[in-house]
C-alpha cells in the first residue's frame, strides 16, 4: 500500500520538508517513515502548525498580566478575566492563502475556524471582527476578491448568528495578488467553566463529532506555508468548504456537552485536521492514542489514511470523554442531529497509533510533532533592506504645498482607504445578539454589552501596514498604540491583545528583518500599555513570484473593558457651539500619510511622528476627561489626518466645524498629516472650565481648534463647503467604485 511504503528524500521535498528535517524524522522514528507518517510530519512541522520560523521571536513578547487566565500558546485562544466571574476568550487568525484562490470559501472558512477556536474552550462567541487588505481597486481581480471575501464572511457569520461588530479594510497595490483576510472572534465564559485542549485517562474514548471528513483542505497547512505562484490554482483542493449551519449546530451541541461534565478535553479540527488535534491534545495531556481511521465518518469512499488524517474539512471537533459517560455525550449530539463517532481511545504510550482496516498505518510520538516538543525551531538570518535608509531621506520641503486644499479634502474623503466602508459592513449582521452598543452610538472601538452585568467589552482591530513597511519597529508600535487609543477613546481600559502577523517569505532576510523589527515594536508598546499578547497567528509567505512580499502587516486585535457602561464615549459631535479641542501636538509632518502617498504619489517616507511615552500620557488624560464627563466626544486622528477626523465627528449628526490652523505648521500638514498621539474632543460651554482645569494638570499639549457649526466647514475663515457634500461622497464612493465595471 502507498501509505505504508517507505519514503525517500525526494518525497520529503515534495511535501515541503527540508533535507535536515527529513533526517531528523528518521532519527525520531529510528527508521525510515512511510508516506502517511511523512505526511503527518510535513503538516505538523509546517510553519502554520509549528511556528518554526517565528517562535524564537514570539517568545520575546510580553505574555503576563494579572488578568491572564490562559497565556499565549497554552490553549486555542487567550483567556482574560474581565471580572464578575466572567472571562473573555479572544483570538485573531488569518485565512489569506485560501482567500487568494477562492475568496468566498476562503473567507467563510476563516470565520468558521476562528469561532471554533473560541467555543472549543467553552466560551460562547459574542462578537466578530475582521481585518481585510486588498490590492488596487481599479483591478477586476480586486473587485472579484472583495466581493467574494465580503460575501463569504457575511454568509458564514450571518447564518452562524454572531454579530460582526468592527473591522478594517485597506487597499494598496502590494496586496494585488495576496489579499489578507484576518478574522477575529471574542466569546465569554464563566471563570472555571472552560475546557482545555488536552487528553488523558487511559481507556477514555476519543470522539469525532460534527461534519463528515472529506478530501477538502488536504495539505492546507502546508499550502499556507509557501508563496503564491501561477501553479497555486492546482492547490484548489487545499481550500476548504464551509457550512455555517453545521457550525451553528456544533456550537450549541459543544456548549451543551460541556455542561454534562463528561468532557476531559476538546479541540476543534483546524489546520492539519485530525492529526493536529490528536497530537496537540495528547502532547499536552502526556498520553497517547490509538485511532481507527476506518471509523471516521467520511464524505467520500476509499479515502486514504493520510487524507483522513490531514483533511481540513470544517465544522468538526475532537472530544475525549470520561469512560462510562458515552451515552450522555451521544444524546446531546443526537439532539442536534450531528455525527458523533468513537474513533479510538486514550493510551499511556505517548504515541499515536493509526489503524486502517486492522493494519497499522502510522506510529508516531505525539510530542515530537508539536510546537514546544520535537518540532524544529529556527533562527533565521535577517538584514535591513536598502529602502529603509532611503525612506529617512524624505524631507517635507521637497513637497510643494497645493494651492487648493479644498480639492485635497474632496480627494481624500472619497479615497477607498478613507471613505465609509458601508458597502462592506452592511453585508454583515452587526446587531444579532442585541448587544452591539455601537450601532446607535458610534465610537472608536466596538462596544459589546455583557448583559446582566454593568460591564461591556471594547474591541478593535488596527494596523496601518504602510507605517509598518516604512519602519517596522515604529509602525508596529503605532498599531498597538492606535488600538489602545481607540479603546481609550471609547471609554474603556485596554487589557490585552491578539495578533495576526502577516508577512512575506521568512527565508528572505529583508522580510525576516521586517518581522523581527515588528516584534520588537510590538513588545515595547504592549509593555507600555500593559496589554499582554494572548496569542494569535503567524502567516508567512504572503508574497508572489512577480510582485514580491505584501507590506508587513501585524494586525493587532485589542480587548478593552468598560467597568461601567455609562462611561462609554462616542465619537460624534453633539451640539452646535461646542468647543473643539485637539489633545496632543500638531506636527509639521506628512510622512507616510494617505495624502502624501495617494495625492502626491510619494511612496518613500519614514513612519509618521510617534512618541510612545507621550502617547501613553495622552491616553491617561483622555481617560480622566471621560471619567469626569468633561467631554462629549472623543475621536482619534488617524488615516487622512485631522481634517478627516473632524469630518467623521461632524458627519454623524450632519454638523460642521469652524477651526483655525496653527501658524508655524504647514496647513497641509496640519490638516492631512498623520502624526500620532492626537485626539479630537468636543466640550460643551458648561464644561469648559472643568475641561481646562483637568487638561492643564497634564503635560500633554491641548489646543482650542474652534467650534461645532450647523453644517458649514470653515478653516481659517475659508469655506470648505457644507458637510452634506462630504457626507454624500464619504458614504457612496466605495460602493460606486466596487460596483462599477
Amino acid at each position: 500500500m502507498e501509505q505504508t511504503q517507505l519514503t525517500t528524500l525526494e518525497t520529503a521535498k515534495e511535501l515541503g520538508l527540508l533535507p535536515e528535517e527529513y533526517q531528523k524524522i528518521n532519527e525520531i522514528l529510528g527508521r525510515v517513515p512511510n508516506f502517511t507518517e511523512l505526511s503527518i510530519f510535513s503538516v505538523m512541522w509546517s510553519e502554520h502548525c509549528s511556528y518554526k520560523n517565528s517562535i524564537v521571536w514570539l517568545k520575546t513578547l510580553p505574555k503576563d498580566g494579572p488578568r491572564m487566565l490562559a497565556k499565549a500558546g497554552e490553549e486555542n485562544a487567550g483567556l482574560v478575566d474581565i471580572g464578575d466571574g466572567i472571562a473573555c476568550c479572544f483570538k485573531i487568525e488569518s485565512h489569506n492563502h485560501p482567500s487568494a484562490l477562492e475568496p468566498y470559501q476562503g473567507a467563510a472558512t476563516g470565520v468558521g475556524g476562528i469561532n471554533r477556536d473560541i467555543f472549543t474552550m467553552g466560551a460562547r462567541p459574542i462578537a466578530q471582527l475582521n481585518s481585510l487588505r486588498f490590492g488596487d481597486l481599479a483591478l477586476d481581480r480586486t473587485k472579484w476578491l472583495i466581493k467574494g471575501v465580503v460575501k463569504g464572511i457575511g454568509d458564514y457569520g450571518n447564518a452562524f448568528g454572531i454579530p460582526t461588530v468592527g473591522g478594517e479594510v485597506f487597499f494598496d497595490e502590494c496586496y494585488n495578488i495576496n489579499p489578507l483576510v484576518n478574522a477575529m472572534s471574542a466569546g465569554i465564559v464563566n471563570v472555571g467553566e472552560t475546557v482545555s485542549a488536552t487528553s488523558y485517562g487511559v481507556g477514555n474514548p476519543v470522539y469525532i463529532v460534527g461534519s463528515a471528513t472529506g478530501k477538502d483542505g488536504i495539505h492546507g497547512a502546508a499550502f499556507a506555508s509557501k508563496d503564491i505562484t501561477e501553479d497555486s490554482v492546482n492547490d484548489l483542493p487545499a481550500v476548504q468548504v464551509g457550512d455555517p449551519f453545521q457550525e451553528k449546530l456544533l456550537l450549541e451541541a459543544t456548549l451543551e456537552v460541556i455542561k454534562t461534565g463528561a468532557v476531559v478535553g476538546m479541540q476543534d479540527m483546524g489546520a492539519a485536521g485530525i492529526i493536529c488535534s490528536n497530537s496537540e491534545m495528547s502532547a499536552k495531556g502526556e498520553h497517547g492514542m490509538v485511532i481507527y481511521l476506518d471509523k471516521v465518518p467520511t464524505r467520500q469512499e476509499n479515502m486514504k489514511p493520510y487524507e483522513i488524517l490531514l483533511s481540513e474539512s470544517q465544522e468538526r471537533m475532537l472530544i475525549v470523554v470520561t469512560k462510562g459517560r458515552e451515552k450522555e455525550v451521544e444524546a446531546v449530539f443526537d439532539k442536534w442531529d450531528l455525527n458523533c463517532a468513537i474513533i479510538g481511545e486514550v493510551t499511556d504510550t505517548k504515541r499515536l497509533h493509526y489503524y486502517m482496516n486492522n493494519e497499522l498505518v502510522a506510529d508516531v510520538p505525539a510530542d515530537d510533532l508539536v510546537l514546544g516538543g520535537g518540532a524544529p525551531v529556527y533562527h533565521r538570518a535577517y538584514k535591513e533592506p536598502a529602502y529603509f535608509q532611503e525612506n529617512k531621506k524624505f524631507n517635507i520641503d521637497q513637497v510643494a504645498e497645493p494651492t487648493d486644499l479644498v480639492a485635497v479634502s474632496e480627494f481624500l474623503i472619497k479615497h477607498p482607504n478613507i471613505a465609509s466602508k458601508r458597502w462592506v459592513i452592511g453585508q454583515y449582521d452587526s446587531m444579532v445578539g442585541v448587544a452591539n452598543m455601537s450601532t446607535n452610538q458610534p465610537a472608536d472601538a466596538a462596544i459589546v454589552n455583557i448583559k446582566g452585568t454593568d460591564k461591556a467589552i471594547a474591541l478593535t482591530v488596527d494596523c496601518n501596514a504602510r507605517y509598518v513597511h516604512a519602519d517596522p519597529e515604529i509602525g508596529c508600535a503605532i498599531a498597538v498604540a492606535e488600538a489602545a487609543r481607540n479603546i481609550t477613546c471609547a471609554g474603556a481600559e485596554p487589557v490585552a491583545i491578539t495578533n495576526c502577523l502577516n508577512f512575506g517569505n521568512p527565508y528572505i532576510p529583508e522580510v525576516y528583518w521586517q518581522f523581527v523589527s515588528a516584534i520588537k515594536g510590538m513588545s515595547s508598546a504592549c509593555t507600555k500599555f500593559e496589554t499582554p499578547v494572548t496569542g494569535g497567528n503567524v502567516s508567512f509567505y504572503n508574497q508572489s513570484s512577480d510582485e514580491g512580499p505584501v507590506f508587513p502587516t501585524p494586525t493587532i486585535g485589542m480587548l478593552g473593558i468598560l467597568d461601567t457602561k455609562a462611561s462609554m464615549m462616542t465619537l460624534d459631535f453633539k451640539n452646535v457651539g461646542d468647543a473643539i479641542y485637539l489633545i496632543g501636538e500638531s506636527k509639521n509632518d506628512i510622512a507616510c500619510s494617505e495624502y502624501l502617498y495617494s495625492y502626491h504619489k510619494i511612496k518613500s517616507s519614514p513612519a509618521p511622528f510617534f512618541d510612545l511615552d507621550k502617547e501613553y500620557d495622552t491616553h491617561q488624560l483622555i481617560k480622566q476627561l471621560i471619567e469626569s464627563h468633561a467631554i462629549v466626544s472623543a475621536h482619534d486622528v488617524a488615516d487622512g489626518g485631522l481634517f478627516i477626523t473632524l469630518m467623521e465627528s461632524a458627519m454623524s449628526r450632519n454638523l460642521g466645524f469652524e477651526i483655525e490652523s496653527e501658524e508655524d505648521i504647514r496647513k497641509d500638514a496640519f490638516l492631512f498629516g498623520e502624526a500620532q498621539g492626537r485626539i479630537v474632543v468636543s466640550v460643551p460651554e458648561a464644561k469648559q472650565a472643568e475641561f481646562i482645569e483637568i487638561a492643564a494638570t497634564s503635560a500633554i499639549e491641548y489646543t482650542l481648534l474652534g467650534t461645532v457649526t450647523a453644517g458649514d466647514i470653515l478653516i481659517d475663515e475659508q469655506s470648505f463647503g457644507h458637510v452634506s457634500k462630504y457626507k454624500s461622497s464619504f458614504e457612496t464612493s466605495l460602493e460606486k467604485t466596487i460596483e462599477s465595471n
Partner: protein, 230 residues
C-alpha cells in the same frame, strides 16, 4: 399570559426575543423545540429570526415541515396569536399562514442596517397603540426580504387592511429610496385575513433595549402587551 419562542436548530434571534420578552418586558417565556409538538399552553407564539435549517434551499422552506409547525399551524388556524420576525416571516409565507412571498433583495446582497417603518393601521394586535404618523427606527438584517405578491392578493390585502408596516424615510415618507430590499409598495409587514398571524421583516427585538440607545421597537411589544393583557 405565556409566550412561546420556537427554536429551530439554526434560529439565532431566539435568545434575543426571549431576552426582550423576559428581561425587558417581564413576561413568562418558554422555548418550543422544533422536534416537539407540545405548545405548553402558550397564548402567543413567536417564530424568531435566523437561518432555521441553514436556508440553503429557500429561507423557511424546510422549517415549515418541522414537528412543532404542525402544532403551530393548528394553533394559528384556531385563532391563536402568532408573530414571525425575519426568518419567522419567511416561514409564515412558506407555510401559507400569511399571503405573499419574500424574494431576494433587489441588490442581491444581505442588508443589515437601521431602517424606518411606519405602521399602516392600528387595527391589529401588534400595531394597536402605535402612532401612525411616526417613523420607527428598526433594523433589518436579511438577504431575502423583498415582499412580493400578485395583484389580486395585493388588492385583497389593501381592501382588508392587512398591510401592517411600510418602509419609509426618517420623516415618515414612503419613498422608493427608503425601500431597502425592493418590497412591493414598500411593504414591511402583513397579517392574515383572520388578523391573528403577523409577519414582519424588521427586527423589533433589536430596538427594545435602552442600553442600545434605540427603543422604537418597544411600541410593537407594548401594543401586544396592551391587548394581550386587557
Amino acid at each position: 399570559m405565556k409566550y412561546g419562542v420556537v427554536v429551530f436548530p439554526g434560529s439565532n434571534c431566539d435568545q434575543d426575543m426571549i431576552y426582550v420578552l423576559e428581561h425587558i418586558l417581564g413576561q413568562q417565556v418558554v422555548k418550543l423545540w422544533h422536534k416537539d409538538t407540545d405548545l405548553q399552553g402558550c397564548d402567543f407564539i413567536v417564530l424568531p429570526g435566523g437561518f432555521s435549517f441553514g436556508d440553503y434551499l429557500r429561507s423557511g422552506a424546510i422549517a415549515r415541515f418541522s414537528p412543532i409547525m404542525t402544532s403551530v399551524i393548528d394553533f394559528a388556524n384556531k385563532g391563536g396569536y402568532l408573530l414571525g420576525v425575519c426568518n419567522g416571516f419567511q416561514i409564515l409565507t412558506e407555510a401559507g399562514l400569511v399571503p405573499g412571498a419574500l424574494l431576494h433583495n433587489t441588490s442581491r446582497k444581505f442588508i443589515c442596517k437601521n431602517v424606518h417603518i411606519k405602521a399602516a393601521t392600528q387595527n391589529s394586535l401588534i400595531t394597536n397603540s402605535i402612532d401612525l404618523t411616526r417613523a420607527l427606527k428598526i433594523p433589518i438584517a436579511h438577504g431575502e426580504g423583498n415582499y412580493f405578491t400578485d395583484a389580486d392578493t395585493l388588492k385583497l390585502l389593501q381592501d382588508k387592511d392587512q398591510i401592517l408596516f411600510h418602509y419609509c424615510d426618517e420623516n415618515g415618507n414612503i419613498t422608493p429610496e427608503s425601500n431597502a430590499n425592493g418590497s412591493l409598495q414598500n411593504i414591511a409587514g402583513v397579517c392574515n385575513a383572520g388578523r391573528n398571524v403577523f409577519g414582519m421583516m424588521p427586527h423589533p427585538e433589536r430596538a427594545a433595549d435602552l442600553e442600545l440607545n434605540n427603543t422604537d421597537g418597544l411600541q410593537i411589544f407594548e401594543s401586544i402587551l396592551t391587548l394581550m393583557h386587557s
